[in-house]
């Protein structure tokens, strides 16, 4: 008999904590049944700096989601972001020992295990091993078992982070008496929501710009080959405005939201806008050109850092679906054009239309929705593995039960 499992996607962001509850039926159908949000406290650039404050706001969001859905959570999928997350390529190769020269599953396992076995520095812990296609005698293959060849190579992009910082995030969830079933890089999670399978197959670069961090994930041939996280985000734009135009951070944030543009639209340097727009003491005119220029420079810088991080992996001709932007800062006007200028390929702001409807289509829920997608995938794999392990008698029994 299949069970219904309630999972939670928890996205602990710099500006807010988002919790989405999903109900998984029969290990293959997902219904979103609850949403809880709270403004973040005790977090800086995606990292926990005050454990108790962060605990309170995360627990409040979980409680709100549980109360709305009227159910208890069975497991949590947690998004991970922050400047401590890094990645490195790891490769391994094995010679095929089979007398017929055919690749055996043992060969594949050995190659994978060698590639994943690289020791990490102290206090670092692995989050993901993102596998690239296998290479059999230099040709790219998806599943080499049974194929003829002499040498099998496998490559991974291994994502790792500070075990203490990851532990803090996990322990906050544990503090609510919940178990973390899996950790997913925030960039990968939001990619699952905003990029379709076809877009990933034809090549796509997903950039999720949050308030404190920017997560990116590069997809080629349907696989994520590189992902990462930068400790810069929307806050840095406000900060630049604040310093450059000499105003308080809140005023800068407000100005960004009201007049912000990621490219300079207004060339006339005399065109001005009011800082507070209330014509009271302290209100003053600000050149619109200056605002747009500062924002353009900072956003371009973020994109350039991403491009630099991608390095040789960034092949514009192979990224047919272009750049897909997500996260709160992607609501900035003309950000897609700015991305096109930097990356030299088409760019657009993504949404969650493929996964959700109504309010949840907004890109601020991309990460939490993506986490639920990962949860569904994990449950499906578990359910399939369980099904395969069951005896013939068990399968016959389930067949009769269905009939």
């Amino acid at each position: 008999m299949y069970k219904t499992k309630v999972i939670a996607g928890v996205d602990i962001g710099t500006s807010k904590v988002t919790v989405l509850l999903g109900e998984i039926h029969e290990g293959r159908k997902l219904n979103v049944i609850g949403l809880g949000q709270s403004s973040s406290k005790g977090l800086l650039k995606g990292e926990i700096v005050d454990y108790h404050l962060a605990s309170d706001c995360v627990h409040a969001a979980i409680l709100a989601a549980e109360s709305q859905a009227g159910v208890s959570i069975d497991g949590v999928y947690l998004a991970q972001t922050g400047g401590h997350i890094e990645g490195f390529p790891s490769e391994a190769s094995v010679n095929i020992t089979d007398p017929d020269g055919r690749v055996q599953s043992e060969d594949v396992e050995q190659a994978c295990s060698l590639a994943q076995g690289r020791e990490l520095p102290e206090n670092r812990t692995t989050i993901h091993h993102l596998r690239r296609p296998y290479r059999l005698d230099g040709r790219s293959v998806e599943s080499p078992v049974g194929m003829e060849g002499e040498r099998l190579e496998v490559g991974y992009w291994t994502m790792h982070g500070d075990s203490r910082k990851i532990g803090d995030a996990i322990h906050i969830i544990n503090g609510f008496n919940l178990h973390v079933d899996d950790i997913v890089l925030a960039g990968l999670a939001s990619s699952a929501a905003v990029a379709t399978t076809d877009q990933k197959k034809s090549g796509a670069l997903v950039i999720d710009i949050g308030r404190g961090t920017t997560d990116y994930a590069l997809f080629l041939d349907g696989r994520c080959i590189k992902a990462g996280c930068l400790p810069i985000g929307g806050d840095h734009i406000s900060n630049d405005l604040s310093i450059g135009l000499r105003m308080r951070l809140k005023q800068a944030e407000s100005l960004k939201l009201r007049y912000g543009s990621a490219i300079v639209e207004h060339k006339d340097k005399t065109e001005k806008v009011w800082l507070n727009n209330d014509f009271e003491i302290g209100d003053r005119p600000i050149p619109l050109w200056s605002i747009e220029k500062i924002i353009e420079l900072r956003v371009s810088e973020i994109f350039e850092v991403v491009r630099k991080k991608l390095g040789a992996q960034y092949l514009p001709e192979r990224i047919s679906s272009g750049v897909i932007l997500s996260g709160g800062t992607s609501n900035l006007a003309n950000i897609d054009q700015c991305a096109e200028n930097v990356f030299g390929i088409q760019a657009h702001v993504g949404n969650n239309a493929a996964m959700a409807s109504g309010e949840l289509k907004d890109s601020q829920y991309s990460t939490a929705l993506g986490l639920l997608h990962y949860g569904l995938q994990y449950q499906s794999e578990k359910s399939y593995a369980k099904h395969r392990q069951s005896s013939i008698f068990g399968r016959l029994k389930s067949l009769f039960q269905k009939v």
Partner: protein, 298 residues
């Protein structure tokens, strides 16, 4: 050799290779008040469920042996327990030996093998018995409880061969033959006259209209036992009158529909008056007239 002191490296935790190595046990200090509430609610729920489970388990363990053992015990009793005790109790004068003879329980009969309905029917065939209850008391006892009929009058009759019959009538008019009536009780009962007996398959037909007579006799026994004790015959020969015959007055006529206590009071007064004035033996007293009481002397 000096004792080895723990170094900072030996105190260091084992390096976590994947995030799954991170310990996820809950530390109470790390919990917010909301999560503590949630944990306590969870604990209460778990404790409640555990208690319920334990209760169900205990109940099952308590009752299951009984359910399983019940039929076995009955079978064993039926197979191996002969009747050892027959407990007879009657609210009348029937003797225990006589009842046991009527029960006719075979020797060494099993408690489960005897037919209780048949035994009850045999006991209730005794005319003096109004009802009987026969029951089994495990493992080896048979219990018989009898309620007897209470006679109010007796009838003197003869069989065709001249043999005297001892018949009694209870307050419902049921006529029964009894050889086992307590002689002390039987002697005090007046004879009934003025009725016709007819034989039926099991005994005699019921005497109709005896209820007023039963009331008169009961009233007399209660309020004027000296008058009751002097009555020898009571008669139902007239449908609207009750007639008693005895020593104090040869014949007293009562109105069947009038108040018996009042009539008995008037009779007592007349008898006293006659006795005190030495008026001689009374032949008849008629209490059926409202204002007048005709008294005839011998």
């Amino acid at each position: 050799m000096a004792a080895r002191t723990p170094t900072s490296s030996s105190r260091r935790k084992r390096k976590a290779n994947t995030w799954k190595d991170i310990d996820q046990s809950v530390k109470p200090k790390a919990m917010s008040s909301a999560s503590e509430r949630r944990v306590w609610m969870g604990r209460i729920k778990v404790t409640g469920a555990a208690l319920l489970f334990v209760c169900v388990l205990v109940a099952a363990l308590h009752f299951l042996p009984r359910l399983e053992g019940g039929p076995e015990v009955l079978t064993k009793a039926g197979e191996s327990m002969p009747i050892q005790v027959i407990d007879v109790e009657s609210d009348g004068s029937l003797e225990q030996d006589y009842i046991l003879r009527q029960l006719d329980v075979p020797e060494n009969a099993n408690l489960l093998s005897v037919d209780l309905d048949a035994m009850k029917a045999r006991i209730e065939l005794i005319g003096q018995v109004r009802s009987a209850v026969v029951s089994r008391h495990f493992p080896d006892a048979l219990e018989v409880r009898i309620k007897e009929r209470k006679p109010i009058v007796r009838i003197l009759a003869q069989r065709a061969n001249g043999e005297t019959l001892k018949l009694f009538v209870d307050e419902e008019g049921y006529v029964f033959e009894s050889e086992h009536m307590d002689p002390k009780v039987a002697r005090t009962l007046p004879f009934l006259d003025g009725v016709t007996l007819s034989k039926e398959e099991f005994g005699y037909s019921r005497i109709e209209g005896i209820r007023p007579l039963a009331e008169l006799l009961s009233e007399a026994q209660t309020v004027a036992p000296h008058i009751y004790n002097a009555w020898r015959i009571v008669s139902l020969e007239r449908h609207d009158r009750l007639i008693t015959k005895g020593r104090a007055a040869k014949e007293v006529v009562f109105d069947r529909y009038a108040d018996f206590r009042n009539q008995l009071g008037r009779l007592d007064y007349i008898l006293d008056d006659c006795r005190s004035k030495r008026r001689g033996e009374i032949a008849s007293v008629d209490l059926t007239l409202e204002d007048q009481v005709p008294v005839r002397f011998l």
